[in-house]
Amino acid sequence: MKKQVLALAVMALAAGGAFAQANDTLAKIKSSGAVTMGVRDSSGALAYTIGDGKYVGFHTEMSERILADIQKQLGLPKLDIKRQLVTSQNRVPLVQNGTVDLECGSTTNNATRQKDVAFAVTTYVEEVRIAVKASSGINSIKDLNGKSVATTTGTTSVQTLRKNERAQGIDFKEVMGKDHADSFLLLESGRADAFVMDGQILAGNIAKSKAPADFKIVGEPLSVEPIACMMRKDDPAFKKAVDDSIKNQIKDGSLAKMYDKWFMQPIPPTNTKVGLPLSEATKAAWANPNDKPMEDYAKK
């Protein structure tokens, strides 16, 4: 497996015309004067696109600042930031094989993924919730019995949902959308009665929809998941640079300001508010920056 990944990384690097070792991202950035950041197109206010190849959002802006700090640290006069769109299914392989250097979107830090990639300190703690049509009468996971429930292929929510299904002894039909926009369309068009996903992705999709008042988010959080930037494993220098930049952004209050900008103020393209105040869990993660996986949160 390692050998294949390395071979792929070498191929990707050769194709990109960059000359650096796969495991020293800082050296690669320094020698090539370029860095590739992974962006998402529909991960709610964390990372999304406003069209025209422009990618914005809380984590997208944060990763731009991280890269600016790295540019300063390396003393590069100019840094070419390339943006590579990734999906839930291809983000881990693309980081592993060197196509993407830093991915800040909506990736959950969990123990399984930590075998393949490294995570920066947690910058957002996500709660998996249930979005339904306001008129549906569904108020908790128990009401989902016999209904069809949408979620997105390649996300941790699918597994969370199944575990809840078994634990609570309820029976529902899973409908898997190929991305978040697709899953929301399933809910919007009535093919699914509920959409189970990260709370902010639900809030973001609802805010962007044609009639936000038609939808609501209900029920207890099904699981708590730390969301963090993802990078290649075994590259301590790069991880330290990213972590330091994030810690600085927490310390000088710019991260909190950015949170307010993306989650509490009207955001493009429709100038609607997501309206999701900073949660206690996220505050705690900022107070004690750490890269603990999801499994450690469940133990509490």
Partner: protein, 241 residues
Amino acid sequence: MGKWDWQVFLQDPGGKIPTYWQWLVSAWGWTVSVSLCSLVVALVLGSLVGVIRTLPDSPWLVRFGNAWVELFRNIPLLVQIFLWYHVVPKMFPVMAGLPPFILVVFALGFFTSARIAEQLRSGIQALPKGQRYAGMAVGFTTFQYYRYVILPMAYRIIIPPLTSESMNIFKNSSVAFAVSIPEMIQFAMQAGEETSRVTEMYMAVTVLYVISAMIINRIMAWVEKRVRVPGFVVAGGTGGH
């Protein structure tokens, strides 16, 4: 080649299905069901459209057949799947009640029917004109000379491309993942993500695709052998009459 971990298939995904290999078998079941149902739709519609494209003295039916083939042949399969799944139920509310499985079978079946229609037309037109006239001369109706003279020969001619088409339908069924059918590609994506054993998942799925396609291939080869008419287009021969 590094470390494989095939025991991953014995792990528990945490839902109604107790292990990943059982989930894979269920996904294979979906792939096979989608493919076989689509194949039936494709063969029936394809034969119908293929025949009407060669009918004499029915210009409007021929035009309809041509339009059918061009419509379903010129739109990418994935786009057709989305059209059937998202657009058609909006335009015809009756269709909204149909399960996604049926819609995908229609999409894949109609797409392939255009290709089979084209093959059948070429098969029919490959026959010498005299066969049609001979049928007419002995007093057969149009239905009768198609049924007893033209089609038995035409189908024998097109068995090789029909074999490819049947195998294609298995492979094309992989696009069904895009509209929430829990078939093998969706399994590979989701299970690969959950276990971070993407390579093993795709290897297993690949093997099952190859097996499915080979079984179809063998069945068609057997059919080809069984229906061979001595002296006519011989399998493995050089053709000719």
